[in-house]
Each structure stands twice: as C-alpha cells, then as structure tokens.
Amino acid sequence: MFLAFQYPIEIPGVATMQFLKVAANAQRKARGEKEYTVPEFMKHVRAKAEALNINQDMLKRAVNVGFSGGEKKRAEILQMAVLEPSLCVLDETDSGLDIDAMRVVADGVNALRSPDRAMIVITHYQRLLDYIVPDKVHVLSDGKIVKSGPKELALELEEKGYANFVGQAA
C-alpha cells in the first residue's frame, strides 16, 4: 500500500536515490523477492524518473529538500512507480499544482493503472479528474460514503456543489 501525501515532508541528509533503494529493497525482501543490485536499481529508477520529468540532479538531492510543490508531488509519484504497490491512496495530490505539473503527475498515475492495482484518489475538485478519469466516484461526508456513482457524478458535483450531501450525513 502506498500513501501519496498532500504535503510530503523534507528529510535533510537522506539522498532520494538511497531512500528509494532502501524502500524498494525492503518491499522486495518482504515479498520474498531478490533485492535489487545497484546497477539494476539505477536503471529501474532512471526510466521511471525520465517519464516524470525528474532529472538526475533531483535524485541526488536529499528527500524533498528544497523541492518546489510540483517537484515534491512528482517525487511522490516516482516513489509510487518504483515501489509498485497494489493499493495507492493519493491524498489531494492536486493541491499546489499548476496545470502543466498536474498533467505530468496524472500521466504518471495513469501509467501505473492496471487491473492488479487499486487507486483511491482524494480530491475536492473535478480538475484532477479530467486527467485521471475515475472508474467510480464516492462522496465522503463526515467519514461516511453518502453517494456512489460513475465518473459523471463528479461533474454533477462540480455543478451543484456538496451542499446536498452535507445535510444527509448529519
């Protein structure tokens, strides 16, 4: 399982590449798979990083330290791509992103979509859903799912607002 944070924290002194490697190998160990060797891992990360517009320089820097909002979110998606989780939770990944950055992040997320992987995307806006087209939409109010529907439900919400649902939950 993977949780993409709304506000990824900065960890000075831990290089992104080293962090990714330790995390990926911990996963593989837990799954009973062979750990990555350094060259294997470099190859694995590089391809994924390029797709997300993350350059080598960013990988050498400490985890999220001095990254812009967009860079942090891209780094989160890179972690997700490297760790290959079966369930992903994306918590307001769209906050603080401009249109271009949102597209890069969404492309990254879409590339990870597969029948073997579930994703929960948490957002307040339709905007992100133009890029990441959901299979199902659930409306959560006061900790309960108050309505479920197809992707059109999100469009309906965008038009009418949440007001109708807030009452129901109470």
Binding site: V14, F19, A23, Q27
Partner: protein, 384 residues
C-alpha cells in the same frame, strides 16, 4: 595554592596527579575518578593480536602507505613505508596540559613523518594497543613542509583494558595543506586520552575529521594555533556512542593573527546511557582582525538516559571579526520516521538512515571519496 590530597593508587602508578571535576575543563570528565586502575608498565604488543586487529581495521582495504605503531613503538615489519619520510623522535611541543605531561611521564621515543611536495595517497597510521592494565603513550609529529600537501588517516584500535595516551603534533608550513581523518575505535574497556596540537603557517589549510566510536572513556584535547595570515581551518567530529561510553572533546582554536577562517562542526549521537561532551573555545587575540569563526555542535539522543553537554565559548579581543556558535540537542524527528516507514522501510532501518543523515554533514568535510565511503560503511555497520 592547591592542598595536596592523597594520590590515588592509579595516580601513584602513573606518577602524577590527575585533574578532577573541580577544574573547569574537567567538569564533565573527572579523570581522577575515571582512571581508577593502577596501570602498570607497558609490555610489548601481542604480535598475533596486532595482526588480527590490522586485518579488521576499517581501512585495511586501502593499499597505500601504512605506518603501524604498536604499543607506542613503530613496527617497521607491519608498516609499508615506501616513499614515506619517517624519522625517530618527535620535537617537544609548547603547550601546558596534563595529557602532555602524562605523555612525557610515560616516556616514549615517538616518530616524525615529513611531507614534501604533493602527496596524493593518504598515509594510514594505525595505533594498535594491546594488554591488560598497561598505560601506553604514543607520540607522533607530522611535518608538512612549505607548499606541501598531505593526507593522513589515524586509526586507533586495540584489545584489552588499557590506557592509551597518543599525542600527535602537526606543523603545517606556509601554503601547505593537511587533511587528517581520525577514527577512534579503541577496545571497549579501554581509555583513550589524546591530544592534537596543530600549528598553521600563513595561507595554510588544515581539514580535520574525527569519528569517536570506541573506548569506555575518550577524552580528546585539540589545540590549533594560527601563526600566519590567510589560513583556513576545519575541525569536524562525530560521536557514535552507546552503552555507558563517555566521550569529551575539548577544542581550543587560537586566532593569533589576522585574516584566518575557522569552522568547527560536531555531530554527536548517543544511545543507551552514553554521554557526550563538547567543549569548544575560539580565542581571537587583539591582533587577529578580520577573523571569521563559526562553531556548532549538535547532538542526537537516542534514549532517555543518554546525555550531551556542550560548552561553546568565544573569547574575542579584536573588534572587527565575525564569530558565532550554536548548539542543538534532540531526538529523531518522528515525522521523518513516519514518512520513511510509510514507504515500507522497517523501523530499525529507518532510524539507521536518519542517524546516517544526521552524521553525514560532519563527514562531508572529508574530501577523499573512498575514505568517506569507508567511514559511512563503518557507521552503518555500527548502527545495525
């Protein structure tokens, strides 16, 4: 006047009075109480043990020149001295200090390494000490000639409950540079009482890093004197202490001349009941205008019972200087730990990563990449 108290059996054996906590510098390290064994005479080092320890040295993989000093005596057979200028004896140093007095009292011939021109390969100097209840003195002088550059790695290893008192002096000539790395990894029941005295000529550079990881008690006195303009000093250090280890560094940087820069950074990690002490003093004499000095010490306490004491001091007599100091002390950041664990990294590994990250800043000063990697590996091994 001091009233002479009865000498302890340990003091009688060493032949001098040891400082106690009523002396400001020894406030946290009451040597009179710490040194309680009546250490006896030095016996020749156990050859087998020395060879075994050498093989275990973290720098055993470095192929370059090596100087082995076993129980205070140069072992030429185990050393690789091709291209190294080694002479017997070491010049006396002009500092008053109990650890120097001890060195003189214990009596040791010592050795001098002279560096001329540019020496690329680091010289590994291994101090191996073996024996139960011996007080061993070592004495080494590093002479870096005008315009020369040198790199040394000092490793302290041993076996047994001994006291090791190494005194290293370094004279860095005009326009010369010395890179020094010290790894204190003495036997777990040993006591390490060392002194480094360095003198920098004009436009000279001293880049120093010490990793303190071994010994039950480690007290390291460091004096650096600026005697020529335009020189640069960096003294970094890391402690990696656990159980009831006690390490105390007393550093005095003396700016006697103008236009010199000094930087000190200590990053100390204490676990269990370990105690770390850092006493750093920067003196800026009236003539030392345009001095730029910064000192900081940071501690990471991994348990409720670990302790860190810091005494940063600035003694400034000049009026056109930039000087500052800072100290922090804390435990691991829980948010950092949570983030790493959320990525599937087991807690122990996450903690180790964060400790490595904390220490990394101090190790960065080591410019030789291979040496830096060995240091990092040592730290990782110790943290597992």
């Amino acid at each position: 006047m001091n009233v002479m108290t009865t000498m302890t059996p340990a003091e009688q054996a060493l032949g001098l009075t040891l400082p106690n906590r009523r002396e400001e510098e020894w406030k946290w390290t009451d040597l009179r109480r710490f040194v309680e064994r009546p250490y006896g005479a030095v016996v020749p080092a156990d050859r087998k043990a020395v060879e075994r320890l050498l093989a275990q040295s973290p720098f055993a993989g470095l192929k370059g020149p090596r100087l082995v000093i076993a129980n205070g005596v140069v072992d030429e057979k185990l050393s690789r001295l091709a291209g190294v200028k080694l002479a017997k004896g070491a010049a006396a140093v002009a500092h008053e200090d109990v650890l120097l007095s001890l060195n003189n009292k214990l009596g040791v011939a010592g050795a001098t390494l002279t560096f001329e021109g540019a020496v690329d390969q680091p010289v590994v100097i291994v101090f191996v000490t073996t024996g139960e209840n011996s007080a061993v003195a070592s004495r080494l002088h590093l002479d870096v000639a005008e315009g020369a550059s040198a790199s040394v790695i000092e490793v302290h290893l041993g076996e047994g409950a001994y006291l090791h008192n190494p005194v290293v002096s370094a004279s860095i000539g005009k326009g010369a540079r010395l890179d020094r790395v010290k790894v204190e990894q003495e036997a777990s029941s040993a006591q390490h009482l060392s002194h480094l005295i360095a003198t920098l000529g004009a436009n000279a550079i001293l880049n120093d890093f010490t990793l303190t990881a071994g010994a039950a008690l480690s007290r390291q006195n460091v004096n650096v004197d600026f005697t020529g303009k335009g020189s640069n000093l960096r003294v970094n250090g890391s402690y990696l202490l656990t159980d009831s280890q006690h390490a105390d560094t007393r550093l005095i940087v003396d700016h006697k001349v103008p236009h010199c820069t000094s930087r000190e950074l200590f990053k100390c990690v204490m676990a269990e009941k370990a105690r770390g002490v850092f006493q750093g003093k920067v003196i800026v004499r009236p003539d030392a205008q345009k001095t730029d000095g910064k000192q900081s010490s940071h501690a990471l306490l991994l348990s409720e019972t670990a302790e860190f004491d810091a005494k940063p001091e600035l003694e400034i007599y000049a009026d056109d200087v930039i000087c500052g100091h800072g100290t922090t002390c804390g435990d691991l950041d829980h948010d950092h730990l949570f983030y790493l664990r959320s990525r599937g990294i087991p807690e122990a590994e996450a903690r180790s990563l964060l400790v490595q990250a904390f220490l990394a800043e101090a190790i960065e000063a080591v410019e030789n990449e291979q040496v830096r990697e060995v240091l990092t590996e040592m730290i990782v091994e110790r943290l597992v």
